[in-house]
């Protein structure tokens, strides 16, 4: 493994001080399920200082306030999957967290690490985008909030500055009337990182017409984003098979418009089918 100096700050303030001092020669270590692999393969020779934040309990929380959910970045996937607050108010995020890796990875991997690592197919990202999540970034003496889609700027790229940490993730709870779907495609069931995933949230009126739609696929565009063209196909409609299929095609069209690659002939039908299934999963929720 790469050689580095390890620091164990006792508070967030101390961690931010270390970051302010070391800037781009430092990385924050949370669950380590991404970072330790890249340090092991020595692809990060520029990293000299590692700041271990795993003991900062102040960054490990799930809170429900008014109708919002607020998560600390150190919340591990297993906690998210099991949390009654999240299962009830953001079921698709719980479903995505439950699908990640293996029990070992879910016990260690954090939501903050998943977001900051920003893999194109990070499983918590499409649900968070569909939920309209915003993230809080802090540096010594300063903080700012950004919508998640602005924070993630490309594959493994974010707007995080070298002296900043992600310190909170927040979003509004889903209304009781909303249905959701989350689907992923991986090479095998356990321990396989998703090749593609998609999150859907649909809210309908008393007559079953879609009044709000979010369709957020991962691993389709260079940086994850909602696909308004697909959402508009469902808006105002009581979606039937044909409309659902068209919405799937619109997601595939967004993908091919961004460029065709060797994998496109395989990914195109797959993302259509995944999107259709996620929409159907979202529609199965009875309107109350």
């Amino acid at each position: 493994m790469l050689e580095f100096n390890l620091y164990r700050p006792g508070t967030l303030q101390e961690a931010l001080k270390l970051l302010a001092e070391f800037k781009s020669s430092a990385r924050v270590l949370a669950g380590g399920t991404d970072l330790l692999i890249s340090l092991g393969s020595r692809e990060r020779e520029d990293v000299k200082n590692i700041i271990d934040i795993t003991s900062l309990r102040e960054l490990d929380f799930i809170r429900e306030e008014d109708s919002r959910l607020r998560l600390g970045p150190l919340t591990v996937h297993a906690q998210i999957a099991d949390s009654p607050h999240i299962r009830q108010g953001a079921g698709l995020l719980a479903a995505a967290a439950a699908a990640i890796g293996s029990p070992q990875i879910r016990n260690r991997g954090t939501i903050g690490g998943n977001i900051v690592n920003a893999a194109v197919c990070a499983d918590t990202v499409p649900p968070l985008l569909a939920l309209g999540a915003t993230v809080k970034l802090e540096r010594l003496g300063e903080s700012r909030w950004l919508p998640l889609e602005e924070f993630i700027t490309g594959p493994n790229r974010t707007g995080l500055e070298a002296d900043e940490m992600l310190t909170e993730i927040a979003f509004a709870k889903l209304p009781a009337t909303a249905g959701w779907g989350f689907m992923r495609l991986a090479r095998r069931e356990a321990m396989a990182i998703a090749r593609m995933n998609v999150a859907v949230i649909l809210d309908r009126d008393s007559r079953g017409r879609v009044v709000s739609a979010c369709i957020a696929p991962g691993a389709v565009l260079a940086s994850p984003a909602r696909i308004p063209a697909a959402e508009n196909i469902l808006l105002g409609q009581c979606p039937d098979e044909e409309r659902i299929h068209q919405a799937g095609q619109a997601v595939a069209a967004a993908m091919t418009a961004a460029g065709r690659r060797w994998s496109t002939p395989y990914k195109e039908p797959a993302i259509i089918a995944l999107t259709e299934r996620a929409i159907k999963q979202a529609l199965e929720v009875e309107w109350r």
């Binding site: 493994m1 790469l2 050689e3 580095f4 100096n5 390890l6 164990r8 270590l29 669950g31 380590g32 399920t33 330790l36 692999i37 340090l39 092991g40 590692i50 271990d52 795993t54 003991s55 297993a78 890796g101 293996s102 029990p103 070992q104 990875i105 016990n107 260690r108 069931e189 356990a190 321990m191």
Partner: protein, 156 residues
């Protein structure tokens, strides 16, 4: 590279250690403490051969730095039973032929223990889910799942 002091309780015994910043829990267990039951397969979180229970949670010890575990409790396969008094899981693995080459066995046992600690009466689906982070290249899993079922019955 700095060295850091770590106090670690492994299988109930407290150790005061000094570790390199980049030392993995797996290395500390195997090299400093000579607890070689825990195995290294892939070293990148995919095979589960290195699984141990850290503060009650199943983790891959190849993906944890020892310096991150200051004040923690670790359970390894050596803490499960003794040669004269096997843990019910160990006895069940023998009875059900759940061991062939044995390389995955310590990881499987710890995964099974973590599961039964949390859910003493798991369904077959829950057992498969609980063991899903450990790969076995020999047995085809069926004997292992049967062994865990039997041990769960035994425990009651």
């Amino acid at each position: 590279m700095n060295k850091l002091p770590v106090i670690l309780t492994v299988n109930g015994r407290e150790y005061k250690l000094t570790v390199d910043a980049n030392e993995r829990l797996l290395d500390t267990l195997r090299q400093q403490l000579r607890l070689t039951g825990t195995k290294e397969g892939c070293g990148i979180g995919e095979c589960g051969a290195c699984s141990v229970i850290l503060d009650g949670k199943l983790v891959n010890s190849c993906m944890v730095l020892t310096a991150q575990c200051h004040g923690s409790r670790v359970e390894t396969v050596e803490g499960l039973g003794t040669a004269s008094k096997l843990h019910p899981l160990q006895q069940a693995f023998i009875d059900y032929n759940a061991i062939q080459c044995g390389f995955c066995t310590p990881g499987m046992l710890m995964a099974a223990k973590a599961l039964l600690d949390k859910k003493p009466d798991p369904s077959e689906a829950e057992i498969r889910q609980g063991l899903s982070g450990v790969l076995c290249r020999c047995t085809g899993y069926k004997q292992i799942v049967d062994a865990v079922k039997a041990a769960a019955r035994e425990d009651k």
